[in-house]
Symmetry: C2
Subunit: 425 residues, 2 copies
């Protein structure tokens, strides 16, 4: 099966670089990218072409840290300190996912909204509920989203009824969940909520599964200082937070860690050495006053970094917003440290929200040959043009204007999962 898209093709083949092909062709065979061309190769001459005219054809987004059950509480409780926010909103809200009808209703909407924003790859936290987690995976699968979803491991330091009732249950339910995962595009990821939420026994079980089943891992790391101090109390044998994951076998190149706001040189070294991917969540870092993540520093040092909306600590599900938030946060950081760390350019922000996230799923940056086709089409012809606009100008504007209605079509793993276009022929 051949897919040929025609339009202005922009991709991010490396950090800070945009490759732009005006009125070019993006060719995929059986959902796998074959190439991008300024002129359509002869061998495809008789194939049907979806012509998007002067629209922009871009890579779709990867959102590598978000909490699905927090979707209904988006934009709420933002005045509360983190712990109060967790106990007043987050845990009670998550506990409702005991109800599978509620889970179905919420997760269906979340999946639809993700697609409507052009997010096609995720690493997502569910709650601790096995059935709701399977429903979440099912809804994402049906909507065409790809990536990883994790049933949250949480068997201590929560509120009774809002976490697993025992370690034994946490372990058996994790096993039940894994046995029931049979989705094509949505795969399981082991998800200790964060070190304080998991007994050593549960951590050890998750680590065992990571090794035996070769499963990826997601969690939180060094988000704020109180959390770091707490982890140190809980694991006096660990000098640093990351070691509480490493000692259970949850620390390797299939691991994503959200935040890393306070990761010092030593922790950052451990992140690099293991090939862990850091998920920067700029909105969340400001909303819940976590601090200023050393993103530029991590990038310069060679750490893998990509972006997450972190709803509902973040209040924007749309990755256009998350990218501009990352850029603004980098300017804040630059102003604070007297520009020892240069800010993220728009092109760099774009890379972090697309290619950098896709890398966790084994893809090469940009619309590289061999990648599954993940793409969005953006129409911007109703916007005013202040001057002759280059394609790069139009990309920048698309990012900042984040006009939801501009999105015309979305492809995910080769499948067209959204089509609002009337012009395509």
């Amino acid at each position: 099966m051949l897919t040929i898209l025609k339009g202005n093709i922009l991709s991010a083949p490396e950090m800070g670089k945009i490759e732009a092909i005006p009125h070019g062709y993006l060719v995929a065979e059986d959902g796998i990218i074959e190439g991008i061309y300024p002129v359509l190769p002869d061998k495809y001459a008789s194939a049907p072409v979806e012509d998007y005219g002067d629209d922009l054809i871009l890579q779709s987004f990867a959102d590598l840290h978000l909490h699905a059950p927090q979707y209904p509480m988006l934009g709420m409780g933002m005045d509360l300190p983190l712990l109060d926010w967790l106990t007043t909103y987050t845990y009670p809200n998550e506990s409702r996912f005991q109800d599978t009808d509620y889970a179905r209703y919420v997760y269906h909407r979340l999946a639809q909204e993700l697609v409507s924003y052009g997010t096609t790859r995720v690493c997502m936290f569910s709650s601790f509920h096995t059935d709701a987690t399977l429903i979440l995976m099912d809804e994402l699968e049906k909507a065409g989203v790809t990536g990883y979803v994790g049933k949250v491991g949480m068997d201590r330091n929560g509120i009774p009824g809002m976490m697993e009732s025992s370690t034994a249950e946490a372990i058996s339910e994790t096993d039940r969940w894994l046995a029931a995962c049979h989705f094509e595009h949505i795969k399981p990821i082991l998800t200790p909520r964060f070190t304080p939420s998991c007994t050593n026994e549960l951590m050890a079980h998750l680590g065992k599964l990571a090794t035996e089943l070769h499963l990826p891992v997601q969690s939180h790391l060094s988000e704020n200082r109180a959390e770091i101090a707490w982890v140190r109390e809980l694991h006096p044998d660990c000098e640093q937070y990351w070691q509480t994951y490493a000692k259970y076998g949850l620390w390797n190149d299939r691991t994503v860690m959200a935040h890393c706001v306070w990761s010092d040189e030593k922790e950052r070294q451990a992140i690099r050495d293991a090939g862990v991917t850091v998920i920067h969540c700029p909105d969340s870092n400001q909303n819940v006053s976590s601090g200023f993540a050393p993103v530029r520093q991590m990038l310069t040092e060679g750490t893998k970094v990509s972006l997450g909306s972190d709803i509902a600590g973040g209040d924007h599900l749309c990755m256009f917003d998350v990218i501009t938030a990352a850029i603004r946060a980098s300017k804040v950081k630059g102003m604070i440290d007297d520009w020892k760390t240069p800010f993220l350019t728009v092109k760099e922000g774009w890379y972090l929200g697309t290619s950098a996230g896709a890398a966790f799923f084994g893809e090469q940056p940009g619309f590289a040959k061999g990648n599954p086709l993940h793409a969005i089409v953006i129409r911007d012809d109703t916007l005013l043009n202040p001057r002759t606009m280059s394609l790069e100008d139009r990309l920048e504007r698309a990012v900042y204007r984040r006009q939801k209605d501009a999105l015309q079509a979305v492809w995910s793993a080769g499948r067209k999962i959204l089509d609002r276009s009337t012009a395509a022929k």
Copy 2:
């Protein structure tokens, strides 16, 4: 003429406080608010009521600093340093408003978009072009927006062709502009672009007009450090930036000054003493790396502060976004200064974007008796409810979710200027 709106009425009668009347009545006579009531007074028993059911009836927004001619360049050039941004984008773009057809086209759209976001009061910069400025005022007037618009004074330190050709012309064109202002709801405001853009002679003329015609004044103050150093060079007789306005009679309680990011204790004292209103532009401060405005400090000291989108230094025209940006910026400030300055709560941010801005137009805070009716109706019944929602919860969510489509109706100075509602009867 009687207007009676029924719904959940929320208003900001003082900083940090929300007055909520569930299923209450907002009554205006001839466009002037008469009162808000939990139960409709008998004397209105036979009057028609617009019933918005369970919708929220809120004060509309005041955007007290934005550059109308920069509207087409929203979200562009954000990687450039301020000076390059001005010369590459801003000045060339503003120079296009020589063309009155272009001005009509752009300003019509701007006025429509402002209304669609519920912004009904503005203090706005035009360009230096007299005719385009009159067109802008006309378009705002027609759309139903109220407030002030200023032809920009700029007769030095610009690019030839992109500023006035002489001081004499700047003066005569200002006079021509003022003579032609004949709008009911959009009034002129004297607008020296900022001190470096205006010769002393022009400043003196504007100051004379301010006194003789009792006109308000808007400009920029202490946005970044390079600018402050430049002003000091240009006015060696002035110890501080504000004095360059004050010495020409442009500094009183009818003055709004954008930014004041670097205003020290002495300058803040001068701001308070004169009753100047500071316009905080949080998005812009981060986008163009101006710094961290001492908003909490100014509020604590008793300075009048309200909000501006500052497009196109800011990239969001929607004041919901500007309010959340102000809240996030205050959290950034708090993290930097180790919480010597507490962050802005949602209720405080809401006050700054509504009542605080309305005060510059002589209004009392909230839906006070005697204020012209400025209101918006927000429908939120398609959103998920994570728990039993209080009206305050719903206000917070409306602010963070900033769902444009949620806006059902807008009133400005007593007139219904937008109606998307189908349910109202």
